[in-house]
């Protein structure tokens, strides 16, 4: 029975081909946008989550400033983290190792050409943590060693000649910082796929402090001893630093976050961003729904006589209602199918473009089954919902009046 209704509805849609296409346009643009945005968002979230997993759960990060977390290097210089803080943390039970780090955008000079790179200074104690977290891999030369001075490992972009006119080889000299402190290149990193990592300039902490003329840290990284409660250690660090600075609880000028908290913060920000995007895409779905409603109202008028005939030959009000609902639902569903195909293409196209043009592989579209099935059901539901009012109008027509309609 329902199948017959689908056949009838499909027939009607096909008969008025141009109008049906125009009606479905609104739906498939909306669905395509939603599918593309969700797939890209899901892909991005998965990639980032994976990075957080690589980071491990036993890390604690301290950054200066009281406001919410931002990207490394963007923290405002209201407060400072110094060696003094590192010393305090070293004395806390459960702490395996501590290291300060500097992140600055700074001047890099090579053969008289001046560019800017993402300068990272690490203490040797925590360097492997950062390498792991950023998935850095040395492709040529070596990594920094203990007691290295004025030695540098550079990102793929700097080494390959993407940034400088000439490529940089192992053993070449580059100048870092305003004073032009000379560093010897000892290693280059594999391509990561984003400008931040591929423009990385990694130098020993002491050399960085010297070259950039600073004693402050932008971050302190802590690894917790195996078997210790990360959150408890983080709390203890917070308490001790607070005491040292003479600050009240809740008024700290530094932030202590465990890797899990970091991931949570990212996820919640990400969820909001995605919700906003999807909200915008949903507006086009509403407009598409209004288009379907308009088409269905026209169909009811055009087919008034037909409705009368069907009632004369035994169609109940509920039959007419179902018939029109299924027809508008089918409009939505077909629009949805086309929208999903377009959305998948769009998502894959965006991943491809991001990979080619921006050089990042973080933006990989991901299409979970629930996204596809959900989009199909949703487009059918939008179609049905838009058809409710016209269908009720159709079902309530009196057979005598409908038959007389010219």
């Amino acid at each position: 029975m329902i199948l017959d209704y689908f056949k009838l509805g499909f027939k009607n849609i096909r008969t008025r081909r141009l109008r049906s296409w125009l009606t479905m346009l609104g739906i498939f643009i909306g669905i395509a946008a939603v599918v593309a945005l969700i797939s890209l968002g899901q892909g991005l979230q998965m990639a980032v989550t994976q990075q957080f997993q690589q980071l491990g759960k036993d890390k604690i990060f301290i950054q200066p400033g009281a406001v919410t977390m931002g990207a490394p290097g963007t923290s405002s210089g209201v407060s400072t983290l110094t060696d003094h803080d590192v010393k305090i943390i070293e004395g806390i039970r459960g702490v395996e190792r501590v290291g300060g780090a500097i992140f600055k955008i700074g001047q890099v000079e090579y053969r008289g050409e001046i560019k800017y790179g993402y300068i990272t200074g690490f203490s040797f104690e925590t360097q492997d943590l950062i390498d792991e977290a950023q998935s850095y891999k040395i492709v040529s030369g070596r990594n920094l060693k203990k007691d290295d001075k004025y030695k540098v490992v550079i990102g793929y972009g700097l080494a390959s000649g993407d940034i400088f006119q000439k490529s940089i080889k192992i053993g070449d000299k580059i100048q870092i910082g305003k004073n032009g402190q000379e560093f010897v290149v000892v290693g280059t990193l594999d391509k990561i796929g984003n400008p931040y990592d591929d423009g990385a300039v990694i130098i020993p902490l002491e050399s960085a402090q010297e070259a950039l003329n600073t004693t402050d840290y932008d971050m302190i990284t802590i690894q917790v001893k195996e078997g210790e409660d990360v959150n408890k250690v983080a709390e203890e660090i917070k308490t001790r630093l607070r005491k040292d600075r003479g600050e009240k609880e809740g008024e700290e000028d530094f932030r202590v976050q465990t890797s899990e908290q970091l991931a949570e913060t990212f996820n919640s920000i990400f969820a909001i961003v995605q919700a906003v995007f999807i909200g915008i895409a949903a507006i086009s779905l509403v407009v598409g729904g209004v288009g379907i409603m308009n088409t269905m109202y026209t169909a009811v008028l055009e087919r008034t006589r037909e409705i009368g005939i069907m009632k004369a030959v035994g169609a109940r009000n509920s039959d007419i209602l179902t018939l029109f609902l299924i027809e508008s639902g089918t409009l939505g569903l077909i629009g949805g199918v086309i929208g999903i195909i377009l959305g998948v293409l769009l998502g894959m196209g965006a991943s491809f473009f991001a990979g080619q043009a921006l050089g990042t592989n973080l933006l990989k579209a991901y299409f979970p089954a629930y996204l596809i099935v959900g989009a199909l059901l949703f487009s059918f539901a939008v179609g049905c919902a838009s058809g409710v009012l016209p269908a009720i109008q159709a079902s309530k027509l009196k057979p005598v009046d409908a038959l007389r309609y010219e």
Partner: protein, 222 residues
């Protein structure tokens, strides 16, 4: 004889703006199984209104209509639709086929609303089209058929649920006299096979073909 339809003091009143129009006044009609009745009257006489009442497409303002044992005023709209579908077959002056459907699908339509399985619907539709000599046209749409052919498809559709009663509203009105005559012959044939036929017409030559003529003038049966 079994009585299948009984109109008891039936009135139908419309309001055209402020004006009250009595389309049908105190109609008393008994229709028995096997009857072939022509309802005759000039245009505006109320014969179409009467036809709608007889076909339970409309309900009376006053009086009662019994279709077999059912008082139609007491039935819900949905029940009326179901009864219409089962007991009455309609033939209209404008043929009223659904133009997006093929001849076969048009004949299958009334059976769909009675939840008859699709294989059975198709079998019966083809059989009915064969009886009226249009089996080879079963996949044509109404637009591809002549008026006479369309009306024959409409007759096949009216017979789809094997109803007791066929209501024909000016069935020859849009046809030339030869084709019209063929349609009347088809109806007479159906009557011979036991179908009750009620036909509205303003053409006395067509009405003469019926066994009994009811005249209606200004809403009153004479």
């Amino acid at each position: 004889m079994t009585q299948i339809l009984h109109l008891n003091n039936v009135c139908k009143t419309y309001f055209l703006g402020e004006e009250k129009v009595s389309a049908v006044r105190n109609a008393n009609i008994r229709i028995n199984k096997g009857d072939f009745i022509a309802i005759m009257g000039p245009s505006g006489s109320g014969k179409s209104t009467l036809m709608n009442l007889v076909g339970v497409l409309d309900i009376p303002t006053e009086g009662e209509i019994f279709l077999e044992q059912h008082n139609i005023a007491k039935l819900s709209e949905s029940d009326l639709a179901q009864i219409r579908g089962r007991k009455i077959g309609f033939i209209f002056q404008q043929f009223n086929l659904i133009r997006t459907l093929t001849a076969k699908e048009n004949v299958m339509l009334p059976m769909m609303f009675q939840n008859i399985p699709s294989e059975e619907r198709e079998k019966r539709a083809l059989m009915l089209l064969e009886q009226i000599g249009l089996k080879d046209r079963s996949n044509h749409r109404p637009g591809e058929l002549s008026g006479g052919q369309q009306q024959r498809v409409a007759i096949a559709r009216a017979l789809a649920n094997n109803p007791d009663m066929i209501l024909a509203d000016e069935p020859t009105g849009n046809l030339d006299s030869k084709t019209g005559h063929e349609i009347i012959l088809l109806l007479k044939n159906l009557n011979k096979k036991g179908k009750t036929i009620i036909m509205v017409t303003h053409d006395i030559n067509v009405a003469k073909e019926a066994k009994k003529i009811i005249h209606i003038v200004d809403g009153e049966i004479k």
